[in-house]
C-alpha cells in the first residue's frame, strides 16, 4: 500500500500535467477523512473505490498548488456536486468538487471552531462550539452556497452534529457530556423551532423512517419527529462503568453502535440492548479506539485512530462480523463518507 502510494507520488511529481488522468474519478467509493494532529501534513483524505483501489492524500494529489485544507479535519458534508471539508483548528471550510476533488473555494468567515455541517436548499448550516467550555456561545454559520457569503445564527446551546430531514434541521445538543437535548431548527425562518429534552447527553444521532434515534454513553432514545417527543423510556445500552456507547448507525433496519472496541447490533424496534457484541477488533491505540465508524451496503467500517502521530488503519467487516480487509490510511482517521 505504501509502495503504491509512493509510486503514485513519484509519477505525480515527475509529470504534474498528467495527474488528472491518472487520478480518475472519485465516484463509487468511500472517502476516509484523516483528522491528523495540529500539523499540516498529517491532515489528508484517503479514497477507497468500490473495487478496492486505494489512493492516499487525494486533495494534495489533485490540487498541488491549492491552499492547504487546514489542521484537525473535523468532518465533511456534501451537496449534489460539492464536498465541504471542515478544519476545526484552521477555522475554515475547503470546498471541492465531490467527484473530481478539484479545489473550488475556501470559506473562512464566521467560524469559531466549526464542527459539522449540512446543506439545505442551497445553504450550508455549520455548527460551531466557539469556547469549548461554554454552550451558550455556540452558533450556526449559514453559508450561501451560490457565493460563499456567510452569516451567523446564535444557538444558545451546545451544538454538535447536525442533520436535515424533511426540510427541518436537527442539531444534537451534546458535547463530551455537556448538553442534554436536540434542537429543531427551521431553515425557512432561520430560527429555532423547539428543543427536545433527552435527560442524558447525546453523542450521536440518526434519522430513520420518521424517528430520530439519539445515543448517549448509556442510553438510546427514540424521538417521534411528528410530535418532537421522546417515545417511551430510553433503552440502556451500556453500563456507566463501561467506556460508553458511541457511533450510532442505522442500516437495513438495524441499529449499530460501539462500546470501546466492540460493535453491537440490534433490531430497530428492539426494547433491550444486546449483551454480546457482533464483533470486537484489536486496537493498539490508546487515544483512538473506534475513532470512526460507519455501516454501509452490508459492510462495517471501523477507523482506528492509531497514535495520531503516524499513518493508521481502517478495518472493513461484513455485517456478520467477518474481517474482509484492513486498509492503511492517514493519521487519525475519524470518518467515512460514501460517494
Amino acid at each position: 500500500m505504501l509502495f503504491a502510494s509512493s509510486l503514485f507520488l513519484a509519477s505525480c511529481s515527475s509529470d504534474d500535467n498528467s495527474s488528472n488522468e491518472s487520478l480518475g474519478d472519485y465516484d463509487n467509493g468511500v472517502f476516509v477523512l484523516n483528522e491528523g494532529n495540529s500539523t499540516i501534513t498529517t491532515s489528508s483524505v484517503t479514497f477507497i473505490s468500490n473495487s478496492g483501489a486505494v489512493e492516499q492524500d487525494v486533495f494534495r494529489n489533485v490540487n498541488p498548488e491549492a491552499a492547504e485544507m487546514g489542521t484537525l479535519l473535523q468532518s465533511m458534508f456534501f451537496d449534489d456536486t460539492r464536498a465541504f471539508i471542515i478544519s476545526g483548528l484552521a477555522n475554515k471550510i475547503t470546498v471541492v468538487d465531490r467527484y473530481t476533488f478539484k479545489f473550488i473555494a475556501t470559506i473562512s468567515t464566521d467560524f469559531r471552531s466549526p464542527r459539522y455541517g449540512v446543506v439545505v436548499n442551497g445553504k450550508a448550516y455549520v455548527t460551531n462550539y466557539d469556547n469549548y467550555e461554554v454552550g451558550s456561545d455556540d452558533f450556526l454559520t449559514v453559508i450561501d452556497l451560490s457565493n460563499y457569503t456567510t452569516s451567523r445564527v446564535a444557538m444558545n446551546n451546545w451544538s454538535e452534529k447536525i442533520i436535515e430531514e424533511n426540510g427541518k434541521i436537527y442539531i444534537m445538543n451534546g458535547y463530551f457530556g455537556s448538553g442534554t437535548s436536540v434542537t429543531v431548527f427551521n431553515p425557512a425562518t432561520n430560527s429555532i423551532e423547539t428543543t427536545i429534552p433527552l435527560g442524558f447527553s447525546p453523542n450521536a444521532f440518526e434519522e430513520e423512517n420518521g424517528t430520530l434515534y439519539v445515543l448517549g454513553s448509556e442510553k438510546l432514545a427514540k424521538i417521534n419527529l411528528s410530535t418532537n417527543t421522546v417515545v417511551g423510556t430510553p433503552i440502556t445500552v451500556a453500563a456507566a462503568t463501561s467506556a460508553g456507547a458511541r457511533n450510532l448507525n442505522i442500516e437495513d433496519n438495524k441499529i449499530y453502535y460501539t462500546v470501546d472496541t466492540a460493535v453491537f447490533a440490534m433490531a430497530a424496534n428492539a426494547t433491550a440492548a444486546p449483551t454480546v457484541p457482533l464483533l470486537t477488533y484489536e486496537s493498539q491505540s490508546i487515544y483512538g479506539r473506534m475513532y470512526g465508524f460507519a455501516v454501509n451496503d452490508g459492510k462495517i467500517y471501523i477507523a482506528d485512530g492509531g497514535d495520531f502521530s503516524s499513518d493508521s488503519q481502517i478495518y472493513i467487516y461484513s455485517t456478520t462480523g467477518t474481517l474482509l480487509n484492513p486498509v492503511a490510511v492517514g493519521v487519525g482517521p475519524n470518518g467515512f463518507y460514501f460517494n
Binding site: 487546514g70 489542521t71 475554515k92 473562512s108 454513553s217 467506556a243 490508546i286 497514535d307 503516524s310 493519521v331
Partner: protein, 610 residues
C-alpha cells in the same frame, strides 16, 4: 634585641593578618554564589559555563543562547513562542532549570518555557549535562541549566545600559547596576523585550501572524555583610510577559498567553570552624492565563505558590574530604481553572561527599530521599570520579539515578488527574574525556540513559488520565571544543559543540519524534583593538515528525548563521555600538512543522557602561 623582638612581632602579626585575609577571601568566594553544589559537586560531569560576555553577544532569550552555544535541541513554535528543550534526547520535563540553586521548573507542567527567561538578568549561565536529581531534585535527567547571580563584596560601582532595536520592531532594553561598598552589595537588572514579530516567511507570500510579544523582568541580588562570618543575601526575580500565539492559517482563532512568575530567596550564610551553614527561605509563584480567543475576556489559568525552607550545611572534614548535608522542605499550593485546589508538601534530605584521594584523583557521591504523600519517591543517588591521568588529559565517570516527579496537572487535572503515579525515573551513566593542549580544549562524552515509567495521558473511561507506561532508552556522544589565541592585537576564539543522539521508544523501537540525530554549533570571534566580529553557526539535523519514523514527513535539516560587528568607543569601551545580521544566509527553516522562523533580519545595539 628590641628590634629583633619587634621584627618577630611584626612578622607574626603579618602572618596572622594574611591568614585572616585568606579566610575572609574564602568566605567571600563561598558567599559569591548560592548554588555551591554546582561548583563543588560537579567534577565528574561536564559543565559548560556561559559567561556574561557571551550572554551579551546573543539574543536575549534563553532559547537562543542555548540553541547557538550548546548541544541542547529546541523546538520553538515560531520565534518567541513556546519553546521546549530536548537535552540528550530527553523530554522537556527532563531538563531542570535552576535559579540561584532553586529548581524553577513549572509545578503545573513540569517544564520551563525557555522563552520566558531573559538571559541578560544573570551573570552566568551554566549547562550541567547528565543526571543531577540527587542534588537538584526533579527533572535533572538530561541535564540542568543554572542561572546564577554573583554577590560580590569588593568595593565597586558600575552601571550599564544596553539597548537594541531591529527588524519587526524588535526592541530590547537592559539596565544593570552592580555596586558594593564592602558592606552592602547590590546587583539589579531590569529588562524589557518586545517585538511585533510579524516576519515574512522565506520564499513564501505568508508571514508570521499574531506573533507579537512583550516581557519585562527584574532580577536583584542583594548582599549584606553582617561580619566576616555572617552574610545575608536576598535574590528576587519577577517576570511578566504576554505573547500572542502565532497562527499557521490566517483564519485560526487568535489566542494569547500571559505569564507572571516571581521568585524570592533569602539566605543567611555563616561560617564557623570547618562548617559553612546556609539557611534559605524562598517564596515562588507562577501563574499563567490562556485566552483561547483574544476577542473574549474569558481565560483559563493555573497558579502555584511555593514556599521553601532549606538548610545546607557544608563540612570540610579534612583537607581532602568535603561533606554537605541538605534538608529541604517545600510546600506547593496549586489552583486553577482545570486543576483541583491542592497543597503538597515535600521534605527531602541529601548527603553529598567529595573525596580528593590524591591531587589527581577524586570521587564524589550523593544520596537523596524525598518524603511526600503525593507520589512514591525512590532513593536517588549519584556516584562519580574524576582522574587527571596526565597534564593534558582528565577522565570522568559518573552514574546516577534520577527522576521527574508528577506535576500538578498529572496529579490533579479535573477530570482525569491520577493521584497514584510514580515519578519517571532513570538510571544513567556517562564517560567523559577532557583534553587540554595550551589554549585548545576538547571534551568528549558518551552517555547512556534508561528511563522508565514515562508519564503518558491515556483514556480511562470517558476521561483521559496519566499512567506510567513508556520506556525510553537514549544514548549518544557529544563533543565540546574551545580554542583561543592572541596574535599581537589580534584575538581569536573558536567554540564548537556537536551532539549525536539516539532516543528510542522501547515499545515501538523507533527514534522519538523531534529528536535530531545530529546537532552542532560553532562560533568564531575575532577582535582587533576595539573592533570585534563574531560569527555563529547552528546546524540541526533532520527530525522525524511521525512516530513510525516515516521519513517522508521529516523536517529538513537546517544551517543558520548570525554575524555581528561591534566597536568600542571611549577609553574603557564605555560605549559599544554593534550591528548584527541574523540568519545571514536567509535559510528557510522551522524547528516545528509549519512554524517557520525568520529569514535574514537585522539588529543594532548600543551598550553604555558608566
Amino acid at each position: 634585641m628590641t628590634f629583633k623582638k619587634l621584627y618577630l612581632f611584626l612578622l607574626f602579626s603579618i602572618c596572622q593578618s594574611a591568614l585572616a585575609q585568606h579566610d575572609s577571601i574564602h568566605h567571600l568566594a563561598v558567599v559569591e554564589i548560592s548554588d555551591l553544589q554546582l561548583k563543588n559537586y560537579s567534577d565528574s560531569q561536564s559543565v559548560l559555563k556561559i559567561s556574561d560576555s557571551i550572554i551579551n553577544k546573543n539574543q536575549a532569550s534563553l532559547t537562543s543562547l542555548l540553541n547557538y552555544n550548546t548541544i541542547i535541541y529546541f523546538k520553538e513554535n515560531g520565534l518567541g513562542m513556546v519553546s521546549s528543550p530536548s537535552f540528550r534526547g530527553t523530554t522537556a520535563q527532563q531538563t531542570a532549570v535552576v535559579w540561584n540553586g532553586i529548581n524553577i521548573n513549572s509545578q503545573l507542567n513540569g517544564q520551563t518555557d525557555f522563552n520566558t527567561i531573559t538571559t541578560r538578568d544573570f551573570n552566568s549561565i551554566s549547562v550541567r549535562a547528565g543526571g543531577g536529581s540527587s542534588i537538584y531534585g526533579s527533572s535533572a535527567i538530561g541535564g540542568s541549566i543554572h542561572l546564577n547571580n554573583t554577590v560580590k563584596f569588593e568595593d565597586h560601582f558600575s552601571n550599564s545600559l544596553r539597548l537594541n532595536y531591529g527588524s519587526f520592531n524588535t526592541f530590547g532594553g537592559n539596565y544593570k547596576l552592580d555596586a558594593s561598598d564592602g558592606k552592602f552589595s547590590a546587583q539589579v537588572s531590569i529588562s524589557r523585550n518586545s517585538s511585533d514579530n510579524d516576519y515574512d516567511y522565506v520564499d513564501s507570500d505568508d508571514k508570521n501572524l499574531n506573533g507579537q510579544y512583550y516581557n519585562t523582568s527584574m532580577n536583584a541580588a542583594i548582599g549584606y555583610k553582617i561580619n566576616d562570618n555572617n552574610f545575608l543575601k536576598l535574590y528576587s526575580y519577577v517576570f511578566d510577559g504576554e505573547r500572542h500565539f502565532s497562527l499557521i492559517f490566517p483564519s485560526e482563532i487568535k489566542t494569547k498567553y500571559q505569564d507572571l512568575n516571581t521568585r524570592n530567596l533569602l539566605e543567611w550564610d555563616s561560617f564557623f570552624g570547618r562548617f559553612v551553614s546556609k539557611v534559605k527561605v524562598g517564596a515562588l509563584s507562577e501563574k499563567y492565563k490562556y485566552f483561547d480567543n483574544i476577542d473574549s475576556e474569558s481565560y483559563t489559568f493555573g497558579e502555584v505558590k511555593t514556599y521553601i525552607g532549606k538548610y545546607d550545611l557544608a563540612f570540610q572534614a579534612t583537607d581532602a574530604i568535603q561533606l554537605n548535608a541538605i534538608l529541604d522542605y517545600t510546600q506547593n499550593k496549586g489552583k486553577g481553572s482545570d486543576i483541583k485546589n491542592e497543597q503538597r508538601n515535600i521534605g527531602s534530605a541529601s548527603l553529598l561527599l567529595k573525596h580528593n584521594l590524591t591531587k589527581k584523583l577524586l570521587y564524589e557521591a550523593s544520596l537523596r530521599k524525598e518524603f511526600t504523600n503525593n507520589y512514591k519517591s525512590p532513593l536517588l543517588f549519584s556516584l562519580g570520579t574524576s582522574w587527571k591521568a596526565a597534564d593534558f588529559y582528565t577522565l570522568k565517570l559518573n552514574g546516577s539515578k534520577n527522576f521527574r516527579v508528577p506535576t500538578f496537572n498529572d496529579l490533579y487535572w479535573q477530570p482525569g488527574g491520577n493521584e497514584n503515579l510514580k515519578p519517571e525515573s532513570s538510571y544513567q551513566a556517562e564517560l567523559g574525556n577532557e583534553f587540554r593542549f595550551n589554549a585548545f580544549k576538547i571534551t568528549l562524552t558518551g552517555y547512556y540513559i534508561d528511563i522508565k515509567d514515562m508519564l503518558r495521558w491515556i483514556p480511562n473511561g470517558s476521561n483521559w488520565s496519566p499512567q506510567n507506561t513508556n520506556k525510553v532508552r537514549t544514548y549518544g556522544g557529544e563533543a565540546i571544543v574551545s580554542w583561543s589565541k592572541n596574535f599581537g592585537n589580534h584575538h581569536v576564539m573558536l567554540n564548537g559543540t556537536y551532539g549525536y543522539t539516539v532516543s528510542e521508544d522501547m515499545e515501538k523501537k523507533k527514534q522519538l519524534i523531534y529528536v535530531p540525530y545530529h546537532k552542532a554549533t560553532s562560533s568564531l570571534s575575532y577582535s582587533w583593538k576595539k573592533l570585534s566580529a563574531d560569527y555563529q553557526l547552528l546546524y540541526n539535523g533532520e527530525v522525524f515528525t511521525r512516530s513510525d519514523n516515516n521519513s517522508r514527513y521529516n523536517i529538513d535539516a537546517y544551517l543558520v548563521s548570525n554575524a555581528s560587528l561591534n566597536y568600542g568607543f571611549g577609553k574603557k569601551n564605555s560605549c559599544i555600538l554593534g550591528f548584527q545580521v541574523l540568519n545571514l544566509l536567509d535559510e528557510k527553516y522551522a524547528s516545528v512543522e509549519s512554524r517557520y522562523l525568520p529569514g535574514r533580519n537585522f539588529n543594532m545595539y548600543l551598550t553604555l557602561n558608566f
